[in-house]
Symmetry: C2
Amino acid sequence: MNTHEDYMRLALRQAELAARQGEVPVGAVLVVSGRLFAAHNTPIATHDPSAHAEMRAIRAACAALGNYRLNGATLYVTLEPCCMCAGAIIHARIGHLVYGARDPKTGAVASLYQLLSDRRLNHRPTITEGVLADSCGAVLKAFFRQRRRTTNGDAQA
Amino acid sequence: MNTHEDYMRLALRQAELAARQGEVPVGAVLVVSGRLFAAHNTPIATHDPSAHAEMRAIRAACAALGNYRLNGATLYVTLEPCCMCAGAIIHARIGHLVYGARDPKTGAVASLYQLLSDRRLNHRPTITEGVLADSCGAVLKAFFRQRRRTTNGDAQA
């Protein structure tokens, strides 16, 4: 039986894949109807500001299952979803959201907003936070540390 | 010189197109770099919960221009954007949002949330609301009135 940590480790691998491609390292894994859909952040490479890991996993699962609703799905993501992704989670009727690190700058599940707990909206998934939070945060910190170093290097060149 | 009303009329035609396809009638027109991208709501037909009119217009423009940012773009949409679409508007750096009717149930620009005026987030577009609001609202009301009638008919059948 796979645990939350097992799936989050797969999401972390997706985040690392994003980092190697110069994208902000966030990864997601969506489990629904016994199938698994993995995705990473690709806005720059795909010229698509909506191509966050969560959105890509949701869209891939919906396309594969031929349904715009994913009742009973569990979505694992390394970082707290933003407003856009929280909105898509509601539209897709994701049953359970499991995330790693909080995002104090744009997080819309706990940090800036609590969109997924809002009783005025028409769906509220179960939420589990903090799964492998340190590892999920570390991959982001390392990425931005490296990028600042590179940017400083360029500025000096 | 085209006015906001001219562009909103085009967005309304997109909304009517959605209604004819059995989708919630919302339409959008995005104007950027002298080009125009029109789209309507298609979540059901495309098995994509993120396929709101705004999202589709943004994605189409970004794909055509080869850029995940649309600085200087104006987005016209018949209905107040939801959390998901408001988030995408921020990510895409849309310069000006013009919308028609308010959405008291899921609107995230004025009704439930004011995401696009939040100084903690990293982009705040200019906002113009209420352009052809009555017509934009009327197409939605007519659609849901018709759908309730059909649903009642099915229930009795």
